[in-house]
Amino acid sequence: MRRGEHLAGWLLTLPAAIAFVALLLLPTLAAVTLAFTDYELGAWPPAWIGFDNFREMWTDRGFGQSFRNTVLYVAIVAPASVLGGLGLALLIESAARGRMFFRAVFFLPVVSLTVAMASAWQYLLHPTIGPVNALLGGLGLGGPAWLSSSDTVLLSLAFIGVWEAVGFNMVLFMAGLTAIPKELREAAAVDGARTAWDRFRLVTWPLLGPTTLFVVTISLIRSVRVFDTVAVLTRGGPNRASETLLYTMYTEGFTFLRLGYSAAITLVFLVIVLGLMLLQTRVLDRRVHYG
């Protein structure tokens, strides 16, 4: 009996296990292997070059710039979209009317296709015929060339990134808010938490801990992953001012055909994402739960 159950268990997990091995584990291992070769698309066979790809990465100014750009992008988008999402969730939650409407409006960017939305942004931010600069011109201000000037391009992309992520975070926070019993806030009011800020600080914020942790992690990972807007709007330009990790990985691998080097960048990217997840599960998870 026991043994039969045991076997059934294995059989039931088999499809998922096969999918995991074939679609995730093997490709990842293949990428790890490639990272230590000089493999180029169309040039066979590749040779083992040990850590040369990583050594090159260390001195490659292009990669360095791309890494810095990504860090800056994440440093803008993650906090702004987390705080923005929280603010929107609180505002909508406390609204007497129109909850559904505002929730839908702010969630729209999440469900729409990034590539299509990028084209809309391209028009909005067009230096000469775009509405944004037309508006600024009407106010007597000269607008910059948002997406083609190296001073503003990363900021513009970050703004689009926030716009895209804030609705997603808002929905997560709203789910977290509904899980907090109303009685707790009422009790706090009775106990002397007079202002809304006090009640937020003493009740809502601590109880939102697990949600916030999840939102922060997912925002970090999502913003490290930025690719679509870069590929569609700027192609990393001008002069690499908006090149990010994934875009560099893509151009190295598929434009410059250096799959080995590209795989090495993938590995760095993988380490960053795994590091962020580890941070969530190991370090922070312990501190935010109320048992």
């Binding site: 180029e40 698309l41 169309g42 040039a43 066979w44 391209q122 028009y123 067009h126 230096p127 000469t128 015929i129 037309a134 011109g137 060339a145 997406l147 083609s148 000037s149 190296s150 700027t234 330009g237 001008p238 002069n239 690499r240 151009t251 598929f254 434009t255 410059f256 055909l257 250096r258």
Partner: protein, 419 residues
């Protein structure tokens, strides 16, 4: 096994076997531009070669076309004939994927008599072999908004023929105000438009033996200084190429310098917004000045004998005088077959009805191949050049500084002789 009963049967089957269609797969990029031309050619080809069936595979752009073939080269090659950008052919020749077409051409007689002039053959000659046959060629031209030129006091029928004149006109157009820009030079896609400035000064990318850069001299400096003057004197705004095209179509940009390949699309975008005209590139050096040739060439991949023969027949037809005529009528590219250029029965009528397309054809005489860099870093080199030019357009560095750094970076990316 053969006996009296099966023999007649075999006699019945044999002709059918001989007629069994050979299927070939042909890949080309940019269906938006090329689909009509390939469809027209395939229809005519089907009439002439009923035993060959052509299946098309398309990729959105040249880059994806290159990736497709290279990926297949690592697994199984399913494409028999591929039309690639001129500047990519070298890579396929160096990686042993493209086959030398010289023996096939010779077998058919004198190439020149078939319309394959040495100039046109040179467009597909890389790595010491005829890696491809030019299918469609283009060169850079000037698109301009005749209405804006008039408003700025210029004469659209007699545009300036040199850069100082063009830059002054650009500044006057920009001075009209109201968000109107003067000009855009399409420097940001790849090295093509830079090579137009370099070749225009009579310069070249690398030395004869391809061991060192050759653009770091006075010609290269002249090219970058000109780019600098476009910003300083012509008031060229920092626009991406797409943004510039959009502004041009909206009637907010006076002139745009880019490939004639964009002509059909631009005509559709502009519609009746304003009067669109085209003109030749301003002359830089009357004697030594040249222009780069863009476009696509067909390269033969199939190894299987039957498929190879069939693919060659299609390639041969698509680049013949008849094929070129169909291509020109359906795209607006420059013809690649000399017979189609020389003999009026092919295209004279088309050019009479479509004068905007004549500009590029007139520049063929001074057009030379788009230089393709050797080695594994060839694509990286072109990106480096674009990145360096961005510093001039953004006025972050002087042409002198940019030229020195561009030369140093490109040198680092050239293949080192193995020893």
């Amino acid at each position: 096994m053969l006996n009296r009963r099966t023999l007649p049967l075999l006699a019945l089957v044999a002709p059918a076997l001989a007629q069994a269609p050979t299927e070939i797969t042909v890949q080309y990029a940019q269906p938006v531009i090329f689909k009509d031309s390939y469809d027209a050619i395939a229809a005519e080809f089907a009439r002439r070669e009923p035993a060959i069936r052509v299946n098309f595979v398309t990729t959105a752009n040249y880059e994806e076309g290159m990736q497709l073939i290279l990926r297949q080269a690592a697994t199984t090659l399913a494409v028999d004939l591929s039309y690639q950008g001129f500047n990519r052919l070298r890579l396929f020749a160096e990686r042993g994927i493209a086959q030398d077409l010289t023996p096939l051409l010779r077998a058919e007689g004198d190439p020149a008599a078939m319309g394959y002039s040495p100039t046109m053959l040179a467009l597909g000659h890389f790595g010491g072999m005829q890696a491809g046959l030019a299918y469609a060629a283009s060169n850079p031209i000037c698109f301009y908004n005749a209405d804006l030129v008039r408003r700025a006091g210029g004469n659209p029928d007699a545009m300036p023929t040199d850069w100082p004149g063009m830059l002054a006109l650009s500044a006057r157009i920009k001075a009209l105000g109201g968000g109107i820009e003067g000009m855009h030079y399409a420097w940001s896609s790849d090295d093509w438009m830079f090579s137009a400035l370099l070749f225009g000064h009579g310069g070249r990318m690398l030395s004869e033996n391809e061991q060192d850069v050759a653009f770091a001299g006075p010609e290269g400096l002249g090219a970058l200084r000109l780019l600098d003057r476009m910003v300083k004197e012509g008031g060229m705004a920092n626009l991406s190429r797409e943004a510039a095209q959009q502004a041009f179509a909206a009637g907010r940009l006076g002139m745009i310098f880019w490939t004639t390949a964009a002509l059909r699309g631009t005509m559709q975008q502009v519609g009746r917004n304003f009067e669109l005209r085209t003109g030749p590139m301003p002359i830089i050096d009357e004697q030594r000045g040249r222009l780069p040739t863009g476009g696509a060439a067909g390269m033969l991949i199939a190894r299987d004998r039957a498929k190879r023969d069939a693919a060659w027949k299609f390639l041969r037809f698509s680049t013949s005088a008849e094929g070129t005529t169909l291509m020109v009528r359906n795209t607006g590219y420059v013809p690649t077959n000399q017979l189609a250029i020389d003999e009026p029965r092919y295209l004279a009528e088309f050019y009479r009805d479509n004068p905007l397309f004549q500009t590029a054809t007139r520049q063929v005489a001074i057009s030379i191949p788009w230089y393709a860099f050797p080695g594994a870093n060839s694509v990286r080199v072109t990106q480096t050049m674009v990145n360096q030019q961005a510093r001039i357009v953004e006025q972050q560095a002087t042409p002198e500084v940019v030229l020195a750094e561009m030369a140093a970076e490109v040198r680092r990316l050239l293949p080192r002789p193995r020893g």
